[in-house]
Subunit: 150 residues, 2 copies
DNA sequence: ATTGACAATGAAAATCATTATCAATAATAG
DNA sequence: CTATTATTGATAATGATTTTCATTGTCAAT
């Protein structure tokens, strides 16, 4: 593979590789945070000061559609995005969110057990409710240690 | 108990029972749908045509804070609300959402197993990440049978 | 019954995230 | 290099939610 996997996916889907798209990918690649469109936009200006917020939104939307990025909604009134690390062995994880400071923690503990149950549930729900289930989210909301102290 | 539980809760928290608050409660009590603030507002006008959308938002927010109502975000760009049926034996459930038509299904199948695992996970996460976990959401996203046909 | 303190309300304006429009620009096939 | 189209960025528009503020309702104490 001459190109990184996401680049393949872009081309295969008939899209061009442009500077804004590279910039967005790089920002996401270099963080473990869950960035909002605005966050990404601000960072992108440091690299290419002519990128527009609209393009950031469009890019994130495109990336989400072709499976390069995951979009999350943690109930803040704005979306957050995360790069998919490896499309083969999906590095699936779940989230813990601090309701006060909005810190977001990825966790994979117990994931085997969790996923086993989730697969089972998914199958049963598919049958009972006639849904073709595509993905799921598991979010735990609580207070981080810092915020508990307050 | 002379009052319904939610009324107690309102008073205990030092709030008054007003007409808009009753109207909102009644709307939520008489549906199994997941209504948006706007939905509730439209319905409320049929009962009391002088209620303001602002008040509906304020009321829902208050109800959520004192634990009468649950607010959900299914990634539509607007929140949806659901009355908590019984605060004692929490009638907890999880959701399946059609990504196309946005139909939302409550399910409680497998909930015992699910909740058992979730409790276990919750405990482990609490310790490892020092979070005091308050609640959680489990959402399955997919396509309902109607939308698959298209 | 009246009053005062303060909670609650509704209308309107403000804010914030996201989307639509459209003319200008950049990417690639030939 | 040039033509064809995808992509972009500035701007305006939208939709949900929040803020502001003057008015109204509630309730306990006169
Ligand atoms: Mn994550
Ligand atoms: Mn529900
Ligand atoms: Zn926190
Ligand atoms: Zn559907």
């Amino acid at each position: 593979m001459r190109y990184p996997w996401w680049q393949h996916r872009l081309y295969k889907a008939g899209y061009r590789l442009t500077n804004p798209r590279q910039v967005v990918i790089n920002i996401l690649k270099n963080t473990d945070k869950h960035l909002s469109a605005e966050d990404i936009y601000v960072d992108s200006l440091k690299i290419n000061s002519s990128i527009g917020l609209t393009t950031v939104y469009r890019t994130l939307d495109l990336f989400q559609q072709i499976g390069i990025v995951q979009k999350f909604d943690f109930g803040e009134g704005k979306a957050r995005y995360e790069l998919i690390k490896n499309p083969i062995k999906k590095e699936h994880h779940h989230h813990i969110i601090c309701v006060k400071c909005k810190e977001i923690v990825d966790y994979t503990d117990f994931l085997n057990e969790e996923l086993e149950l989730i697969n089972k549930t998914e199958k049963a729900l598919s049958e009972k409710y006639q849904f073709k289930i595509l993905h799921h989210t598991v979010h735990f909301y609580g207070m981080c240690s810092k915020c508990q102290a307050t």
